[in-house]
């Protein structure tokens, strides 16, 4: 009988031959050392392939996927930090604004700012303008609230609330931007 082809040996191992072919292959393997050798090599190979060497995935994969799909809500600590930061920002803003308004040197710079191209004067003008604009908005919001709900929170409280809400609302975007910055 002719020797078994490699395909036939693999089929025999995989048990995909019909009963006649299978019996013929079995009989041949008993008498042919060359085919028997190939058979045992394929069998060894099959046995090892059926037990793959495991590769452990780094834990970072799960963490990154979950962070991407389910951005976490801000923790209590970060909420507290945001409130504190907004408060400091607002108080500093008010202080700077009123100090600007009252300080004679600043007043002098502001007065001369219109006629000079001094960068400091321009900067002061910009800060004053931005703060005045934002403060006017908060005052308007306070007036609306007063009209509708009959409560007077004051522009500062409104400002603080808006800062906090804004930061919370954009928290995921800030977080993403921060992560990108960190690389």
């Amino acid at each position: 009988m002719e020797c078994l082809t490699n395909t036939k040996i693999q089929d025999y191992i995989g048990d995909t031959l019909n009963s006649v072919e299978s019996a013929m292959a079995r009989d041949h393997l008993i008498v042919c050392p060359a085919c028997k050798k190939k058979y045992s090599e394929y069998e060894t190979l099959e046995k090892h392939l059926l037990q793959p060497v495991e590769i452990i995935p780094p834990a970072i994969i799960e963490r990154r996927v979950l962070a991407e799909l389910f951005p976490l809500l801000p923790s209590y600590t970060s909420i507290f930090a945001l409130v504190a930061a907004s408060f400091v920002l607002l108080v500093t803003g008010i202080y700077i604004y009123f100090d600007f308004a009252n300080n004679s040197i600043i007043q002098a710079i502001q007065l001369t700012a219109n006629t000079t191209s001094n960068w400091l004067a321009t900067l002061i003008k910009v800060i004053s303008a931005v703060f005045s604009g934002v403060y006017t908005i908060f005052e308007a919001m306070n007036r609306v609230l007063k009209l509708l709900l009959k409560i007077n929170l004051g522009a500062e409280i409104i400002g603080l609330t808006v800062f906090v809400l804004f930061t919370l609302l954009f928290y995921p975007i800030f977080k993403l931007a921060f992560r990108k910055l960190k690389g």
Binding site: H48, L49, P57, R64, E68
Partner: protein, 191 residues
């Protein structure tokens, strides 16, 4: 309709249960990462692609057809992701194939040689050696060997995943095993 374990998880995920997705990810993470890593042979890329896979699968989960096995559907997505990457980075992958890190170099580099030489390789070492050789065969054979033995798919399932006829799948896997046997025999590892 009777649902299997995966399909129950998917149903819960579609209902918005985050923990079910975590469970599904834990179940498939090892297999998916193992497959991708053995295909691209670069840990960083494998991490990126595994992440992309899970994010993608979450995004398209609503399109999953419950009449089919989830694993076949998922492996198909994973397979396409890897093949796309390999096509885009053909040169890099080819160079890895060209290296085909001669098996002996591979053994030397990873201290597979026991004190008495190749003849005395322990069974465990032979096991690792065989899988290292798998990593070195050309992609078109490797992908099928990995789907068959790493993912445990049947020939017809592999055909579904790869879009190849069942006959081609079977022939290529046979050819791959022939290549593996020849390579291992050449190095006298069967002794």
């Amino acid at each position: 309709m009777i649902m299997d374990e995966d399909q129950v998880l998917i149903k819960k995920i579609l209902e918005g249960k985050k923990s079910s997705f975590e469970e599904l990810m834990k179940k498939y993470n090892k297999k998916i990462f193992g497959f991708i890593y053995r295909m691209v042979r670069n840990e960083e890329v494998a991490i990126e692609l595994t992440q992309d896979f899970f994010i993608k699968i979450y995004g398209v989960m609503s399109r999953y057809n419950f009449e089919y096995k989830f694993s076949t559907w998922a492996y198909r997505i994973c397979y396409n992701l890897v093949i796309d990457y390999i096509r885009k980075n053909q040169a890099q992958v080819d160079s890895l194939d060209d290296d085909a890190v001669t098996q002996k170099q591979l053994l030397e580099s990873e201290n597979y040689v026991s004190e008495d030489g190749f003849e005395c390789l322990a069974r465990e070492e032979l096991h690792h050696y065989i899988w290292k050789v798998v990593d070195c065969i050309p992609v078109k054979y490797r992908e099928l060997v990995l789907l068959r033995y790493l993912q445990g798919l049947k020939y017809d399932e592999i055909a579904l995943v790869t879009d190849l006829p069942v006959g081609t799948v079977k022939n290529r896997i046979f050819k791959a095993k022939e290549m593996l046997r020849t390579e291992i025999e050449k190095d006298g590892m069967f002794n």
